[in-house]
């Protein structure tokens, strides 16, 4: 694919403040052993994009630690590979890369120095296994200037205030863009994945900025709907917007469904990659009781685990009961502890006999490195 990739890592950190105090939303752990950015990054690599830029704003320690040189995504290359794009500050005190457009401005160097004809833009905080190559083919075949990926969905039940939508005419052309979507009923949710020519993007960034406009969707896209041929690309498979704590909890739990796991992790030639660690395999002791759970390697289970997700290297001691919970990496659940609807961040230690209960809408959250 004659394209580079650009991922926004920091756009939505305020969606889940409980978990993004010390990390970007993109580096939020998900599904037992992944981080959110793994999905978009793997999608890029699986679509044969060999050069990917990741824009950042703040708190990108954990992101850098996770991505390192990009080797685990096969992006440690002499030619191309992974480019981390931190904010490019010129004016002291200016808040940097807050908006998508500012992040794009910081990426201008990366964009200008590339030679590939096209660019695929995506967010680093959504969960899907998507073939950008197919979208690219659609983009070229329909001779669009810009193609926007969307998923038809019913907004009646959607609690989110953060999802935009597009309206499309019978010829597949985008005729309206709602940011965010405030209408009920069926609509085409924008998946924040865009394909266009690299040169066109540079032109659009410059022309939008020089008119004092600041918003990617309203200004760069919305104001050009008539001038440019913007088309839609329908994606109908599993796609999670992770835009609140409740939603984060729900989406994790959905991995306990067979069809959801298959749609994300069992797609031929499209594995989801992540940072590889030398964890031991998982050990189940004689007293272990486990059902309907997703357990990563390196865990040692002596207690009971039901309807839960355990990340790498967690320990559940004898007599402990973990139900409906998400336990992140390196956490220790001591003897006879009882947890229901609890979400622990990394390295949490819960001492003997503690009992903690949350509820499905509001899981009980324990911050990183908490000890109880």
């Amino acid at each position: 694919m004659n394209a580079i990739g650009l991922i926004f890592a920091n756009m939505h950190d305020d969606y889940i403040p409980e978990l993004t105090k010390s990390r970007t939303l993109s580096s939020l752990p998900f599904g037992g052993r992944y981080r959110l950015i793994d999905f978009t990054l793997s999608n890029m690599v699986n679509s044969n994009i060999a050069k990917v830029g990741v824009t950042t704003r703040q708190n990108y320690h954990s992101l850098m630690d996770h991505l390192s040189g990009g080797k685990d995504w096969d992006l440690s290359r002499r030619m191309g590979g992974l480019y981390l794009i931190p904010p490019y500050g010129t004016v002291l005190g200016q808040s940097l890369n807050v908006t998508r457009l500012q992040a794009l401005e910081s990426s201008l160097n990366f964009l200008q120095r590339s030679e590939e004809e096209y660019i695929v833009i995506a967010d680093g905080d959504c969960v899907c296994n998507m073939d950008y190559a197919d979208m690219f083919k659609h983009h070229v075949d329909s001779q669009n200037d810009i193609t926007i990926a969307y998923k038809p969905m019913c907004f009646d039940q959607v609690q989110s205030q953060h999802i935009s939508s597009i309206k499309i005419d019978s010829a597949g052309r985008v005729i309206d863009l709602l940011v965010p979507n405030r209408e009920e009923g069926n609509a085409n949710a924008v998946l924040n994945v865009y394909i266009l020519k690299r040169e066109l993007l540079i032109k659009l960034i410059n022309s939008t900025l020089s008119r004092g406009q600041q918003d990617f969707k309203h200004d760069l896209l919305g104001k050009n709907i008539r001038r440019l041929k913007i088309g839609g690309y329908a994606f109908t498979d599993v796609f999670f917007f992770i835009d609140s704590l409740t939603r984060y909890y729900e989406c994790n739990m959905m991995l306990l469904q067979h069809n959801i796991r298959d749609a994300l992790f069992n797609v031929q030639y499209h594995s989801i990659y992540t940072k590889v660690k030398d964890s031991a395999p998982t050990k189940y002791f004689q007293s272990a009781k486990v059902s309907n759970s997703y357990i990563a390697d390196g865990c040692e289970i002596e207690g009971t685990v039901i309807n839960s997700i355990l990340f790498r290297d967690c320990i559940v001691h004898k007599g402990a009961v973990v139900k409906n919970s998400i336990i992140m990496q390196d956490s220790v659940i001591d003897k006879n502890v009882s947890l229901d609807y609890v979400l622990t961040d990394k390295k949490v230690v819960i001492r003997t006999e503690s009992k903690l209960y949350g509820c499905p809408q509001m899981p009980y959250v324990l911050a990183k490195e908490t000890q109880i």
Binding site: K277, P281, T282, A288, D297
Partner: protein, 395 residues
């Protein structure tokens, strides 16, 4: 970064491992699976890097493809170095001479130019078919303290097993006074682990002498060590008292795996201070089904368990369907056990599929041997296999 190394390791990984039968039909012994996510060679390579030895020559000969692939550039063991690192050394042709490796000593002899590149003071000779965690830097320290020409790492074995090993006798200071390879009537229980620390010049001298000797079998245990002893060289025995297991037979491979399952295992893969590094193929977490029952088991990533698994080690990507029962067994990567099938006291190699309601193996008891199913074999539904080694599909 120095352009020489103080100590390098030469790892003998060319053996066929014929006593593992079907498991080594298409892979070399060091590449056989172990402990759900490892291969046997991981332990020796991890020992090297954990002992600060970052330069290792791996001598391969038998079925090397998977092993070569697995070692690759050595990145999982931090051995992708600008100078040094891991190097696979297969037999080769050269002007005027060319040969397969004729014995362990000959394999090293044919690669002395590799050793010379690094100009080390010490060369550590290892074999790639043992399970143990050992700090070779302690061995080196012992070697230097004794001003030894060669130090042999040893372990105490039960007297009834002694005739399987090279058995030696040492005086109070640890100096070796006697060495017999696989004695019929052992007089000592001090066994050689096949781990030798050599002064480089001593190694060179003896390998070159040995190469000239047409009567030699070019083997360390049979030729080099006895010759050193005969010449009254300074030979010392280093006593290692940790867990060490030769996994050269099906039974010992099974046992060593099962040793991981005990509550406080003598050999602990969860030890964070001595990490076992391996080439990790990425896989999702393990899915544990609604009605699954897993007791006393170790399971690799990407597996899905809906049935019952007890006292077993399962590799990566294994599927145990509902109603299936796996007991006292080793299942290597990507094995599928279909609905209602049972597996008892067996070793099932990679990519095997066991049809629904088939019964593999017989309960572990006096007189009942292991059942082994070779890589990729398909067993159809409703079949019954009682022991033996299955290398062909049963349809």
């Amino acid at each position: 970064m120095q352009n020489r190394k103080d100590c390098i390791a030469m790892l003998l990984a060319g053996g066929q491992g014929s006593r593992l039968y079907a498991l080594t039909n298409s892979v070399a012994k060091p590449a056989v699976s172990f402990g759900a996510k490892y291969r046997i060679i991981d332990f020796t390579l991890s020992n090297c890097i954990n002992s600060q030895i970052d330069t290792v020559g791996v001598l391969t000969q038998y079925q090397p493809m998977l092993l070569n692939d697995y070692i690759g550039n050595g990145q999982p063991w931090d051995m992708d170095r600008l100078f040094g690192g891991v190097h696979v050394l297969p037999p080769y042709q050269a002007k005027g001479k060319s040969d397969w490796y004729l014995g362990t000593a000959n394999a090293i002899y044919q690669n002395l130019h590799f050793v010379r590149t690094y100009n080390p003071d010490y060369v550590l000779i290892l074999s790639g078919d043992h399970i143990y965690n050992m700090d070779y830097s302690k061995l080196k320290k012992f070697h230097i303290q004794n001003d030894a020409d060669i130090t042999i790492a040893t372990i105490t074995v039960p007297i009834e097993q002694a005739s399987r090993f090279g058995i030696l006798t040492a005086d109070n200071e640890g100096r070796i006074t006697q060495f017999v390879e696989k004695p019929k009537h052992p007089t000592s229980t001090l066994a050689s682990m096949g781990v030798y620390m050599f002064n480089t010049n001593v190694l060179f001298d003896y390998l070159e002498q040995d190469a000239m000797n047409d009567n030699s079998s070019h083997d360390f245990g049979k030729d080099i060590i006895p010759k050193l002893l005969q010449d009254n060289a300074r030979m010392y025995a280093y006593r290692f008292d940790g867990y060490w297991k030769d996994v050269g037979t099906l039974e010992s491979l099974w046992e060593a795996n099962m040793d991981l399952l005990t509550e406080k295992p003598a050999f602990d893969i969860f030890e964070s201070k001595w990490k076992i590094h391996s080439r990790n193929k990425l896989s999702p977490p393990i899915y544990n089904g609604d009605h699954c029952c897993i007791e006393n088991a170790i399971i690799g990533g990407g597996s899905s368990i809906y049935g019952k698994v007890t006292n077993s080690i399962l590799g990566k990507g294994v599927i145990v369907h509902e109603g299936a029962v796996v007991n006292d067994s080793l299942l290597f990567d990507n094995v599928i056990v279909h609905q209602g099938a049972t597996v008892d006291y067996s070793i099932i190699d990679e990519q095997v599929s066991i049809g629904s309601n088939s019964a593999i193996g017989q309960a572990r008891s006096e007189g009942n041997g292991l059942t082994v199913i070779a890589r990729g074999v398909v067993i159809a539904e409703d079949k019954r296999i009682n022991g033996g080694i299955i290398e062909e599909a049963i349809l």
